[in-house]
Amino acid sequence: MIVETGHYALVLAFALSLVQGVLPLWGSRKGDVALMAIGPSAAIMQFVLIAIAFGALTWAYLSSDFSLLNVVQNSHSQKPLIYKLSGVWGNHEGSMLLWVLILSFFGALVALGGRRTPQELLATTLSVQAWISAAFLLFILLTSNPFARLALPPVEGNDLNPILQDPGLAIHPPLLYLGYVGFSMTFSFAAAALINGRIDAQWARYVRPWTLIAWIFLTLGIAMGSYWAYYTLGWGGFWFWDPVENASLMPWLAGTALLHSATVMEKRDALKVWTIFLAILAFSLSLLGTFLVRSGVLTSVHAFATDPRRGVFILAILVVFIGGSFVLFALRGPLLKAGGIFAPVSREGALVLNNLLLTTSCATVFTGTLYPLALEALTGEKISVGAPFFNFTFVPLFIPIFLAMPLGQVLAWKRGDFLGSAQRLTLAFILAICVGLLLAATRGEPVVSAVFAGLAVFVIIGSFAEIWTRISGSGWAPRTILSRAMGLPFSAWGTALAHAGVGVTLFGLAATGWGVERILAMRVGDQVGIGPYALTLDAVAPRKGPNYDETVARMTIRRGGVEIGQIEPSRKFYRARQMTTTDAGLRTYFLGQIYVVVTEQNASGTIDVRMYWKPYVAMIWLGALIMALGGGISLADRRLRIGVARRARVRPVVQPAE
């Protein structure tokens, strides 16, 4: 009964999305306030209905209801509770349901937080959002229904794919989807602005929080996915330039560009057409990612052709939304008036450069990801585009970004003074050189690691140059500096922090060059040196888990002969699926990590061990956390919360709807 309620709620949500897609839009055309007012209520109700559907599926998983095909295929009664929960989205149908749940969540948030948004803009935006919702709800109901029942329920389920039985699954997909789907809000706002024909700096201010939220979650989602791959896949890599990863990187690059161009639009009323274009692009790439992952086209063009139902459906959604929005853009874009002008050397100029480089890198990832598919479909010729291609093309595009990042921040708006601004970065530059030389001297080969580490220091220190200038302008007295620091808007701190985060990640990436790897066969009692540490294999013993059996290798870590910790890499055998996975042993010391993977015992009594010492590796993900934190602080800026840039003594009056 609960399951049927969920199914019914999903159908209702679809019907409601049709209503929400038509009436508020019509109202905004006719200036009918009552029709427009339907938008927010419908958006909230839609979220409630989809939440009921999601809750029903979750309940089926938690209670191991094996009359549901989806639960049978992906769950098991003995599976730990957390994986019963995360198993809800650990499969195609459930993950699509999570997708629309988050979509409607954002719709409801906009409806609730949209009191300051002009009613016409709000109504149109929610209508556009409802079309996306309707398309995906129909997709779920027609091709991927998670509520399909079985006439003859089995006693036990097939269990979830063991590699997905990891806390990573509980966190990664929701974060990633919050990012992916978050860009739907910016998209809807952009489409609404084009439909209404009114786009100004105020629009940029309404949209900015949504772009920021999506960007924060996408950053976290990608970082989390990368860390998950790093500790799960067992060879210590953290980014593989896999199409599925690229699918999440593309919207991130476009979204980052959008965040920056929207700043120009908000502050200077310039780059309007471009900002709208990016808003459409970011979500289009999210949709593309959904298509790539969900259609099976990646496995092979032929696999797609044999069962094209889902693929063709998402492809149709893709064509309608991307095509439709770009047609709208082509029709309405030229009507936008160009805004404020600026000299090439200025803050705006630097942000334009940032946009050029980010979009080019995004296009590079796009080409590299889709080219093999297109070539095979058109000519039948098969080529591989892998990590070496991307490292060769993508990295050179990012070097100028790293160099320009601190510089752009210290340039003035409208017309900047290049030399004068560059002088403010003297300290950062000197420190970068010092750290680079120091690392080259102490760590040695490869030199390129020291160069990039130096660049990272330049980015980190340089990110705070603007803040330093602003707070030390009128004297060096600690009290003045403190009070000025407190007086700075949150967004200034957020920007500095997010940029510094990029530097931190870069440092971690640079340091991978200094990693040490050992591959060897070990006997119990053997000791091996790795980097500054020594590992002793103490024992190899079996252990029993809830739905698996594992073989654990116990090792002791010593540094300078002193015992400092234990590490327990293992191999798990999952009973239901008869599958084996490796669990890497991980220990973090001073931002670096010891990483050990083992196999089962050889006939001769040895076990094969692969171990790494990865100095500073944690900084890769720490940097992403700092970026997201910067985004969060920026989001808390008064200008975004209250809609007014400066602190006013009197509480600003809420603007009436236009």
Binding site: I163, G386, I519
Partner: protein, 152 residues
């Protein structure tokens, strides 16, 4: 879910031993071994989803790793080894495709977009400076008149 799907595909590819380079495969000569690793990282495990033979635990990847090392010991250059494998398995084995008629668009797109973008920006800046730069004669006269008026 993305990562999840990716991971599960990898798992399907993996067989029993979830290990890429095995201890028994390693060459005693450190320099040759380092070269073997570098070459392996650029070769695709043909039966895998976007994995190099250095990262893959598939039996085919192991065979290829062994071939690479045998040729290295025999004294082949890095390029000779790659050519040898391309002759046998086609260009599909190279993770960094060579520049030719079929890949010209792949290699050409990034620099083309960068160039077109930069060019478009340059033209735009010039045009707008022309639009807003100097005052026309008419405007100068008007400005002078207004200033004169205010002074008086």
């Amino acid at each position: 879910m993305l990562r999840a799907l990716f991971a599960s595909i990898l798992l399907l590819m993996a067989t029993g031993n979830v290990f890429a380079v095995e201890p028994s495969e390693l060459l005693a000569d450190q320099k040759l071994e380092a070269r073997a690793r570098a070459i392996s990282a650029g070769l695709r495990c043909l039966v895998c989803q976007n994995q190099s033979i250095d990262d893959s635990s598939a039996p085919l990847a192991k065979d290829l790793r062994v071939i690479v090392r045998e040729r290295l010991v025999a004294g082949d250059s890095d390029d000779a080894i790659r050519d040898y494998l391309v002759a046998r398995y086609g260009e599909f084995i190279l993770l960094k495709p060579p520049l030719n008629a079929g890949t010209i668009l792949l290699w050409g797109t990034p620099p083309a977009i960068l160039l077109i973008g930069a060019l478009a920006l340059l033209l735009r800046t010039r045009r707008r400076q022309a639009d807003h730069g100097e005052l026309s004669e008419e405007e100068s006269r008007k400005l002078a008149a207004i200033l004169e008026e205010n002074r008086g």
